[in-house]
């Protein structure tokens, strides 16, 4: 702790606060709020009831007005702190509102109706997490279906990517054959051809092979990632060729060399690719939006955007589902941050 204080109070050159120290801390603290703030705000908001969401100015924590069962009234009544004409405050339950006058009763003595000006009453509020925002979409809407579709697409695409890319990278890094440079060059050249440039023809190909409105139509075009081949190949080039010679002398077949020697030794690069592939495929939006036109096939991203784009936006559900969509990525981020950051810094991939 004392080390922390010493650090925090240490200044450049030890000559008092240099302006750069101030800029640094302003920038960092500001960054903390701007970067984390929106997501945290969203997470808190997702627990609010529709009434809570419509409130202005909004509160940070999800509040609801306390309610109470009062004898003689069927429905639970809202509780308010009402200012009495004599200056004292009493906790009263509102029966009904007429204009600017609220008719209230004391929950303990419900017989007498007290009239209070609505300006003189404040709702009694408590923190309340509206978990039904989360449970309802899964039960009433298709969100469970969307979640399953997203998981299926992500896991399948990542597995295929890892196998197919690593095999290609193995061939391109450890074999001499005609056309090797040509293959490598084509892959490099398309490293930067984005999906948006080939949307139309890709859509016609997917339709031709009958993959329109199929999750495989979402998966297949994404699995042969040039980035994946590229980083795996770079990594495999650092594996000594003598190991492969040794394995050949040890009577290993080429498939065994790939599976028993190359794949285990490429594990760190495969892990990085796996993480990225999961994030990519989980976040994919435009392509699934084009290929999937049936509601039961939507992925989370498509489902969310469709619901959010509807005229009557049910924000309390949208926010909750946004949080659900965010969770896997946040989990990946918390546990695998080191892998991701070193992966990016080393190869500039995203």
């Amino acid at each position: 702790m004392s080390a922390a204080i010493r650090f925090l109070t240490r200044r450049k050159g030890g000559k008092g606060w240099h302006w750069t120290d101030i800029v640094t801390w302003v920038w960092l603290i500001g960054g903390l709020f701007i970067m984390f703030g929106p997501a945290v705000w969203l997470a808190f908001s997702s627990f609010k009831t529709p009434q809570g969401l419509a409130e202005f100015p909004p509160s940070i924590l999800p509040y609801v007005t306390q309610q109470v069962k009062v004898e003689g009234y069927e429905k639970p009544l809202m509780l308010y702190n009402a200012k009495m004409p004599d200056g004292s405050t009493r906790v009263l339950a509102e029966v009904r509102r007429i204009g600017i006058v609220s008719q209230m009763v004391d929950p303990k003595a419900p017989g007498e109706v007290i009239k209070v000006n609505i300006g003189d009453r404040q709702p009694v509020r408590e923190v309340f997490f509206a978990t039904e925002n989360y449970t309802q979409p899964f039960m009433q809407f298709d969100f469970f279906r969307y979640l399953w579709n997203s998981v299926f697409v992500t896991v399948t695409a990542t597995l295929i990517t890892l196998i197919v890319n690593s095999m290609a990278a193995f061939a391109l890094s450890k074999y001499e054959f005609k056309g090797r440079n040509l293959a490598m060059l084509t892959i490099l050249a398309t490293l930067m051809v984005p999906l948006s440039v080939i949307l139309v023809p890709l859509y016609s190909i997917i339709s031709t092979v009958g993959l329109f409105n199929s999750l495989w139509g979402v998966i297949l075009p994404t699995v042969a990632t040039p980035t994946g081949v590229f980083i795996l190949r770079q990594y495999m080039l650092t594996i000594p060729d003598e190991l492969i010679d040794a394995a050949r002398m040890d009577k290993a077949s080429e498939w065994q060399i790939y599976w028993r020697i190359i794949v285990p030794l490429t594990a760190p690069a495969l892990a990085v690719l796996a993480i990225f592939s999961v994030v990519w495929r989980w976040n994919d939006f435009l392509w699934p939006l084009i290929v999937l036109s049936r509601r039961e096939l939507y992925t989370l991203q498509v489902g969310l955007s469709i619901y959010a784009g509807e005229l009557n936006v049910q924000w309390h559900y949208i926010l909750a589902m946004t949080v659900v969509t965010m969770i896997p990525v946040v989990v990946v981020f918390i546990f695998l941050q080191r892998f991701i950051t070193t992966g990016i810094a080393g190869s500039g991939l995203k």
């Binding site: 000594p240 190991l243 010679d245 040794a246 394995a247 050949r248 002398m249 040890d250 290993a252």
Partner: protein, 367 residues
């Protein structure tokens, strides 16, 4: 079993010829060392024998059977690599078992063979470690162990000692020699270190630029080098070479250098021909009287048991090794003699014409 025959072996990568017309017969149980400077093709030759490289021409046969088109896995050879090439993600035990498992050997036999090899190489206590947790010497033993368990027709060793420190290199060298004596299998050993070659080999193959320069026992190569290259390569420090032209007058023969210095020779070849005389540093002695030839001392290395003298004479640098400790210092003029020494005469193309023994008193005179 374990004879290997190479007939007119050629290897080229595109237009680059790496091996030219290699002919060699390796006998069963022989310890053969390929030696030569780096880039001479010795490692390529080994990889060709192993089957890791395909030959471009010629015929390779093992035990009388042509194996040109047999894959590395099916040649029945085992190889120890320079970097050891141990599988880093497998334990020592798994490393040793990998090849046997691939051959479909029953588990019991694998266990038995691994146990035997581990005992022989004293690596039993490391069996569950990974290569990264072993020292260089231990890794080296595992690499040899991986070859031994295969019980190969022949062992191929590619500079196996070059990654070890000097001390370990000497002891491991002795162990490899002992291993060969015990297993009696054919071993082909590649090195650029002529001391390793001399100490280990039954026969040495000296290579240069993709060609075999000479094949012979270590002492053959030392005493009768086929050419100037072999003479310079075998023996440490290198042989001294003095260049000049042969002259004869009055029945005495001598070599006259470009500077006009004269070296007396006991035997004449064709007079007038430019030749090179080779003289090993160990065969030069200090002459107490001034009967030898004068030399200017440039550097003295006192090793205790012997003294290495770098001197200049005959217009060239000359190295002499004399036993014991001498009081000589840089700048001195000393007298050296090559009495009772073998002189190797090479013709202009570098081929050895003759090796002659000098006699007492055959010291050069200065004109």
């Amino acid at each position: 079993m374990g004879s290997i025959t190479l007939t007119n072996i050629q290897k080229s990568y595109g237009a680059v010829h790496v091996l030219h017309d290699i002919n060699l017969a390796i006998n069963e149980g022989e310890f053969i060392v390929f030696v030569g400077p780096s880039g001479c093709g010795k490692s390529t030759l080994l990889r060709v024998i192993a089957g890791l490289e395909k030959v471009t021409g010629g015929e390779l046969s093992i035990n009388g059977e042509r194996v040109n088109d047999v894959s590395a896995a099916d040649r029945g050879l085992a190889m120890v690599f320079q970097s050891y090439a141990l599988y880093p993600h497998m334990t020592v035990r798994q490393n040793l078992a990998f090849g046997l498992e691939n051959a479909g050997m029953p588990k019991a036999e694998i266990t038995q063979r691994i146990g035997e090899a581990a005992r022989m190489l004293e690596i039993e206590q490391y069996m569950d470690r990974r290569p990264g947790q072993l020292s260089g010497g231990q890794r080296q033993r595992v690499a040899i162990g991986r070859a031994i368990v295969r019980r190969p027709t022949a062992f191929l060793l590619d500079e196996p000692l070059s990654n070890l420190d000097a001390e370990l290199r000497v002891s491991t060298r002795a162990e490899i020699a002992a291993l060969h004596a015990r297993l009696r299998s054919t071993m082909i050993y590649v090195t650029h270190d002529q001391v390793e070659a001399m100490t280990l080999a039954n026969r040495i193959v000296v290579m240069r630029a993709g060609r075999i320069e000479q094949v012979g026992t270590p002492l053959d190569l030392y005493n009768q080098p086929a050419n100037r290259f072999v003479a310079g390569f075998i023996g440490a420090p290198h042989m001294n070479f003095i260049e000049g032209a042969l002259e004869s007058s009055n029945g005495t023969h001598m070599l006259r250098t470009a500077q006009g210095d004269v070296l007396h020779l006991p035997q004449s070849v064709a007079p007038g021909a430019p030749i090179t005389v080779g003289l090993r540093p160990q065969h030069i002695s200090l002459s107490n009287d001034q009967s030898g030839f004068a030399a200017q001392v440039q550097l003295v290395e006192a090793l205790g048991s012997e003294t290495v003298i770098h001197a200049s004479a005959f217009g060239t640098k000359l190295l002499a090794i004399v036993p014991g400790q001498r009081r000589i210092s840089t700048g001195d003029t000393i007298y050296l003699s090559y009495a009772n020494a073998p002189l190797h005469l090479f013709d202009q193309s570098g081929l050895r014409i003759a090796t002659v023994q000098t006699e007492d008193g055959h010291s050069p005179t200065f004109v």
